[in-house]
C-alpha cells in the first residue's frame, strides 16, 4: 500500500487552505482526511486532536500575518507605518478569511505566549513610536488600534457593510486618516 506522505506540517498547511475555502469553523479532521484520500484515523499519527489541528492553523496564520506586517512596516514611520500596518492586516484577512479567523482562535496562555501574537503586540507598539505617546496612553492606543482594525475587518468580512453603497476602501482610508490625526493630537510631550 503506497503511503500518502502526511506530516503535521502538510496537514496544517492543507487545513489552512481548507479554512480559506470553507471557513475556519468547518475545518474538520474528516474533511482533511478526505482531501488527502486517506482514512480519518490516519491523521491521528500526526495530530493529537481536532483542537490540535485548529491550534496549528492559528499559529500558522499568526506567523504569516506577523511576517506580512513586519514587511509592511520595514522602513516606515508615522502615518506611513500606520497605513501600511492597516493595509497588511486588512489585505491578509481578505485574501485568507479562513486563516484570519484562525488567527483569532483562542489559544491557551502558554501557547499564546510562544506564538507570533507576541510579535503583533510589539509591532503595534512600534507604530506608536512615531507618535510620542507615553504610558499608559500607549497601551490605550494599542488597544484602540487593535480594536478598530480587527473590528472593521471582521465586520467587513461578515458582510456588515454590504447594505450601504459606500466603498469600504474609502471608509478604510478615512479611518486611517482619522486615527493618524487622533494619535498626533494625543502626543504626550
Amino acid at each position: 500500500m503506497a503511503r500518502a506522505g502526511l506530516t503535521t506540517e502538510r496537514l496544517i498547511r492543507a487545513g489552512a487552505e481548507l479554512a480559506d475555502e470553507v471557513g475556519f469553523e468547518h475545518v474538520t479532521i474528516s474533511a482533511l482526511a478526505r482531501r488527502f484520500g486517506v482514512k480519518v484515523a490516519s491523521l491521528y499519527s500526526h495530530l493529537k486532536s481536532s483542537q490540535d489541528l485548529k491550534t496549528g492553523i492559528a499559529l500558522l496564520a499568526l506567523e504569516e500575518l506577523a511576517d506580512r506586517v513586519a514587511d509592511a512596516l520595514a522602513g516606515r514611520a508615522g502615518k506611513d507605518a500606520l497605513a501600511a500596518f492597516a493595509a497588511a492586516y486588512r489585505d491578509y484577512a481578505r485574501e485568507h478569511p479562513g486563516r484570519y479567523a484562525a488567527a483569532r482562535f483562542r489559544l491557551d496562555p502558554e501557547t499564546a505566549a510562544a506564538s507570533a501574537g507576541v510579535r503583533h503586540a510589539q509591532m503595534t507598539r512600534a507604530i506608536l513610536r512615531g507618535y510620542d505617546i507615553a504610558e499608559p496612553d500607549q497601551t490605550h492606543a494599542v488597544r484602540m488600534l487593535g480594536g478598530v482594525f480587527h473590528g472593521y475587518v471582521d465586520l467587513e468580512l461578515s458582510g456588515g457593510f454590504s447594505h450601504t453603497p459606500v466603498d469600504p476602501d474609502e471608509s478604510w482610508s478615512w479611518i486611517v486618516d482619522s486615527l493618524d490625526t487622533l494619535l498626533r493630537n494625543r502626543t504626550t510631550p
Copy 2:
C-alpha cells in the same frame, strides 16, 4: 407521560442562557434537550435545525442589545450619547458573552434585513447627528464606531488584554474620549 411544555420561544431563551454558560459555539440541540430532560428528537417539533436554533439566539441577542442601546441613548446627545452607546455595548457583551457572540452569528441576508440589526445601524447613525457629519463621512464614521466597539469588546472578551497591567476600563474611557474629539473635529460645516 407528562409533557415538558416546550415551545420555540422557551428553547431559544434557554439556548441563550446556555450560550452564556458554555459559549455560543458549544450550544447544541443535544445539550438543550438534556437541559429540559427530554429526548433530542423532541426538539425538532419546535426547531427546524441546529442552524435554526442558532439563528433564533442571534435574533434574540440582537433584539436585547438594541433595546439596551435604545434605552441608553434616550435623551442623550453628543459625547454623552457616544459614551452611553459604548457602555451599553460593552456591558452587554460582558454580562452575556454567549449572546454577544450569537449576535455576531452570520445571518442570511433576508433574516438580517428583518432583524434588530437594522435598529443598530439606525442608532449608530443617530449618535452622529450630534456631530454634524455629512455623507459619505457619516458612513465612514459609522463603520469606524462599529469597528472599534466591536473589535475592542471582542479582543477584551477573548482575553487579549490580560497581558498588560492597564485597566481595560481606563482604556475604554480613553478611547471614547478620543473618538469624541475625533468626531468633533471631523465636522462637515
